[in-house]
Symmetry: C2
DNA sequence: TAGAAAACTGAAAACGTTTTCAGTTTTCTA
DNA sequence: TAGAAAACTGAAAACGTTTTCAGTTTTCTA
């Protein structure tokens, strides 16, 4: 079932079919109707390989993501997919390993699949001009971090939250509640961007409040999983049982920490307050409900696609910083 | 940067380049090495549009899914993506609306993108032979339900759990703990497959235990969201405050129900036991931890891809039923 | 060492579109 | 109503691969 069959069936040339398909104005209304009828009749669907070949570009947007485990990222992907569908594009997901370079992966994907755009999702991003791998299409860096190698900001688009500032905000809230012994639960240290930036926000919030830095209140897990966060919290508590508040860098970790504290006989928030960043749905329904800074996941995905499509259509690159919003739960209270 | 450039650069014809690319044996080792070096040197990546065009098929597997909201499905998608990558294919996700027909959508996608296979994910599936839309490639129906229209089972592949039997199992566990007044929290009734089948399992478990059916213990939410489940639980409790156990058809709904009960002053499991089906990660860390039947999400995604790839390679269709596994949490206890 | 077989290589056709260019038909203007 | 302009249409080239077929080179056998 090719354009040729449709042409034969409707008695015009394939050029005309193509013109109808592409909404070219140079087709008589009568002919257009006849062709559309034939297309419907025959259940004809254009072969996008052929189309992409001659157009030297497809209508596919690629997503490069390092690991789809993360419930936060999955939810961003979900909103990206929705936005891409709505905009009439298709989505190709490419998952890379921890060790892979997302720029090379993305560049290869673009060339192979003739993508018209790329979204790089949630990683540490290092793109240096003059690098051997070059992304030849518009792309949006949609990720936790606003750092972007040594590349000029104007030459790419991004959607991000300011990890430093948001962490600062969270810790400040604890301080304002009267806490001074504030522990922090960090993720893997090999992923510089997020843990490092949020850690810095934590440190500065403390020092701005005149609170002395205390190494033993820093707990680094070896990843972001709930299991690791649970174990880390227990390890932290074994070392120090006197902190009155805990800042977890993600909701999942926060939830796991609360469970660990609960099992240790520590009541939240009476004995220890907990705050996190993410705002995933389930944290509204934990007992107690988690106090957290909501990352606007829907907005992030949606805006990433909007910006990308704009750039594809010729608009300028754009850097969009989105802000979190505090969701007051039941896990923060003044210390006793 | 095309195959032609590589041919020129390495001093052989494009046919030879193609043969190297496709691991055709008829190439001298020396030439092969030279060509591979050239490919690397030039960062050449084959144009898959052209390749797909002549092969009349791509290496892409399509996923048709109705709504990516569901955390359970997202996690299946994640494992599907991993398996697809590992098998050397690419993944194209297509999301459809509530009203869309997944067979037509899939069939169109296949023809347009020249997919080599299709996975239909988590819906009510109705595929009748002789239907106008026909899926022309191997496909796997990877979904909650094992019902599949009037199509002969042998003519398609599937990975499923037996919703009826699993619900029966869950309710039976409550009965074995001594419960007789067991409420059920169902999802939207417009989605026949899952709610209906699990509801049937609930009914039969009760009647097999000689427990009389009680309409007022049935609560139907208008969807599967946590918010709706929370409200529904409150509505249920307003109607009947004497049930000693609750069966929620998903973990998310179960977690929301526990929160609602907690806010109503009902202690779980002391005053009311709760059991659910899904086994998402977070239910291990709620307080109390949810007792649930774990759906092997990783296995489901992984097996769906394995089966699909097998069928693509010429093997027979295969129906795989997977079983849930009980995860004993802290939400089931005998009634007082 | 001659001849046959095996190994290797290249030219050309084909996949199904879009688009350019030239040609034909229709509509409009004076 | 003749001529010009506008509207419409089709033939053919092109996109970048794979694959067939024929041809050339190398290796083997007697």
């Amino acid at each position: 079932m090719t354009i040729k069959d449709v042409a034969e069936y409707s008695g015009v040339s394939i050029s005309t079919i193509s013109r109808v398909l592409n909404n070219h104005p140079d087709v008589r209304e009568e002919v257009r109707a006849k062709v559309l009828a034939a297309i419907k009749e025959l259940h004809y669907v254009p072969n996008s390989s052929a189309r992409d070949l001659v157009k030297t570009q497809s209508d596919a947007i690629g997503i490069v993501v390092r690991g789809v485990e993360n419930p936060f990222l999955t939810s961003v992907i979900s909103s990206i997919e929705k936005a891409i569908s709505n905009a009439g594009y298709t989505m190709v997901i490419h998952q890379i390993g921890t060790e892979d370079d997302e720029v090379s992966a993305g560049a290869g994907l673009v060339r192979s699949k003739r993508l018209c755009g790329l979204i790089l999702l949630g990683g540490r991003f290092d793109y240096t001009p003059g690098q051997t791998a070059t992304i030849e299409v518009p792309f949006v860096c949609c990720t936790y971090t606003n750092s972007f190698g040594s590349l000029d900001k104007k030459s790419y688009s991004s959607v991000f939250i300011d990890d430093y500032a948001e962490a600062y905000k969270a810790v400040k809230l604890l301080i304002e509640n009267g806490h001074r012994k504030i522990a922090i639960l960090l993720g893997a240290t090999d992923d510089h961007s997020i843990s490092e930036l949020r850690y810095k926000g934590y440190c500065d919030a403390l020092s701005d409040a005149g609170i002395e830095f205390d190494e033993s209140l820093i707990e680094r897990t070896q990843g972001y999983s709930m299991k690791k966060a649970y174990d880390s919290t227990k390890r932290l508590y074994a070392r120090r049982d006197d902190f009155t508040a805990l800042f977890a860098i993600s909701d999942s970790m926060g939830i796991a920490a609360i469970k660990a504290l609960h099992n240790l006989g520590v009541r939240v928030p009476d004995d220890c307050s907990v705050i996190a960043i993410d705002g995933i749905e389930v944290s509204k329904y934990t007992i107690p409900a988690l106090t957290t800074l909501i990352q606007p996941r829907k907005l992030i995905g949606h805006e990433a696609v909007r910006i990308l499509v704009d750039v594809i259509k010729g608009k300028k690159n754009c850097q969009l910083r989105v802000e979190t919003e505090l969701r007051i739960g039941e896990t923060v209270a003044p210390p006793k």
